[in-house]
């Protein structure tokens, strides 16, 4: 018997109540950071704004943004608003380019974090009676510890299996009767492959749901995971700078991700001009942490692109929803002047039968022209032995990509299993134009 407990007050406030609460919290936050974080005092002074100038939520647009570079320049603890002795946990994001960004949590922050992840978990219908296997790395990365705490909070039986050692994952699932998988969508799909190689049919295991996060994924990928495992997959969203997982998640309706607005104030801005966009327009997500103690951030630019979906949700939550993240501004490729997101390519690949959802995007420059090559694996059951079928598969990919991207890519079919599988965030793009891979 699974027990999924009810909604929290912060999830069901009227819009007016919520806005009042947000404003009270925002004002207190500004006073706090102005007093305690020299970086913010300087930035606000430069912008000519004092905490008391912010009288409505709309006034937030007068405040300066915070960026990933700001965090790096203040490495490691420069933006902390409490002395280090009050910080009980440090996490950091991988520094693929330069220094990592470091985040800290007070004891109260950790409690809040667990509570907010617990909300995400409950939203997806996971609770006491579930055996949840966490396939995220438990390290400086926030995924593992974050989901772990939230799952424990709802009373699930948590198996901290962590990323890697995929065969053991399969054995644990069999032995423990795992009902919920938690990880990146690409890794969860890979576990199914390994299960099959071990002679285990993923659909016959007890797994019934997956909580997927930490990398952008498409609806097609969701369908693939659900078909492969015979389960329902739920999206959740977060980033370490804001708190880690627990910023937003899908409820059972799966029509967007509810943002924990009582703790995070969301804006959507034009990534080029920085101007706030009207609700519903697509742009860059910007969050202000309203209640965090150790590392409060004002108007943090996430580089994640999405849009807000206003209006009531049948689930009863009143918090605003965001559309699944379509990609990061830094993942966006500009190929012959056309903006291309890897997720658009994934959407095409996963919509064509006969292809596996394992692909790589290679961008190169021949002379003065950018070239796009999409390498994609054949599905094991998708190979008929016919040359014509392979040609029409290639042609289908080329044609569909061409119609959405206005670039004719080179398409290369690969053997199933040809590409390296990732246990964390999958690496899909090789851009050779910058010299070197990355």
């Amino acid at each position: 018997m699974r027990v999924v407990s009810g909604l929290r007050r912060g999830e069901t406030l009227s819009r007016e109540e919520l806005r009042e609460l947000q404003l009270v919290r925002l004002k207190a936050l500004l006073v706090r950071v102005y007093e305690r974080v020299p970086f913010y005092r300087r930035k606000m002074d430069e912008a000519g704004v004092k905490p008391e100038d912010i009288r409505s939520l709309e006034d937030i647009r007068h405040l300066p943004f915070t960026t990933k570079e700001d965090l790096r320049e203040n490495y490691p603890f420069g933006l902390f608003a409490v002395p280090l002795k009050d910080v009980v946990r440090i996490h950091a994001s991988s520094g693929t380019t330069g220094k990592p960004t470091v985040v800290g949590y007070t004891r109260r922050d950790l409690n809040l974090w667990a509570e907010l992840v617990a909300r995400i978990v409950r939203m997806a219908g996971v609770g006491r009676g579930d055996v949840a296997q966490v396939c995220f790395s438990y390290a400086l990365f926030t995924g593992g510890f974050g989901l772990h705490a939230g799952l424990e909070r709802v009373g699930a039986t948590v198996v901290p299996a962590a990323a890697g050692n995929t065969e053991r994952h399969v054995r644990l699932m069999q032995d423990f009767g795992t009902t919920v998988l938690v990880g990146t969508p690409s890794y969860i799909l890979h576990i199914a492959e390994v299960a099959r190689q071990m002679g285990v049919d993923p659909r016959r295991l007890k797994v019934r749901k997956a909580l997927c996060g930490a990398e952008p994924w498409s609806e097609g990928m969701r369908a693939e995971i659900e078909r492969t495992w015979g389960i329902e997959a739920y999206d959740n969203y977060g980033l370490s700078e804001i708190i880690g997982p627990g910023v937003a998640g899908e409820c059972l309706e799966r029509q967007g991700l509810h943002i924990n607005e009582d703790h995070f104030l969301v804006e959507v801005i034009d990534p080029n001009t920085g101007e706030p966009l009207p609700v519903g327009e697509k742009g860059e997500l910007v969050f202000t942490t309203l209640t965090k103690e150790a590392l409060p951030l004002i108007r943090y630019r996430t580089r994640d692109l999405s849009r807000l979906l206003p209006g009531p949700c049948p689930c009863g939550r009143t918090t605003i929803r965001m559309e699944r993240v379509m990609g990061r501004t830094d993942d966006m490729l500009i190929i012959r002047g056309v903006n291309v997101f890897p997720s658009q390519i994934e959407e095409v690949i996963t919509s064509i039968p006969g292809l596996a959802p394992h692909y790589q995007i290679i961008v190169d420059r021949k002379g003065y022209l950018d070239e796009l090559e999409v390498q994609v694996e054949l599905a094991q059951e998708g190979f008929t032995g016919s040359y014509e079928d392979l040609e029409s598969l290639e042609e289908a990919v080329r044609h569909r990509l061409q119609s959405i991207l206005s670039i004719t890519p080179k398409v290369k079919l690969l053997e199933y299993g040809s590409l390296t599988r990732s246990t964390g965030k999958a690496k899909r793009v090789i851009d050779r134009r910058r010299g070197g891979e990355g």
Partner: protein, 143 residues
């Protein structure tokens, strides 16, 4: 009268063909005939072996992208002009050949041609009516 052919999808990178041959060798599976069609990026290896179901399973378990296809075998005289009448008979009956490949049997003065056609049953009839022998799958596997 269909002969089971194994088709393996192979990327054009070194060692893939050898890997297939090595795997079949390790299972004691004998290759009776083979053909490769390739582009600059990939190839399709087609194999006739003595134990097709077993070879198919072994390749699949090893992670190869593989399928089983029904093809047709026909025996033609191993001399100039041996093949032409068989193909003419099929063509006159409006049967399309997707691909074919041949091998010469060791003990007889005949060549064996493997054909992938769109209507196998009708092709068998047409060939037999034209006087050609269509060997049974068992005869092919045990050659």
């Amino acid at each position: 009268m269909s002969v089971k052919q194994i088709s393996v999808f192979l990327e054009n990178k070194s060692g893939r063909l050898a890997a297939v041959a090595r795997l079949l060798a390790s299972r004691g599976i004998n290759i009776r005939a083979l053909s490769i069609a390739d582009t600059s990026d990939f190839g399709i290896l087609r194999l006739i072996v003595d134990r097709p179901e077993e070879a198919y399973r072994a390749l699949k378990e090893e992670g190869f992208t593989v399928s089983l296809t029904d093809v047709l075998a026909v025996a033609v005289p191993d001399r100039p002009g041996g093949l032409a009448p068989a193909l003419e008979a099929l063509s006159e009956a409006n049967l399309n050949i997707e691909y074919l490949y041949a091998f010469v049997a060791r003990h007889a003065d005949q060549a064996l041609v493997l054909l992938k056609v769109d209507d196998r049953e009708r092709a068998v009839k047409v060939l037999e009516e034209a006087g050609f022998k269509v060997p049974s799958p068992e005869e092919i596997y045990s050659l």
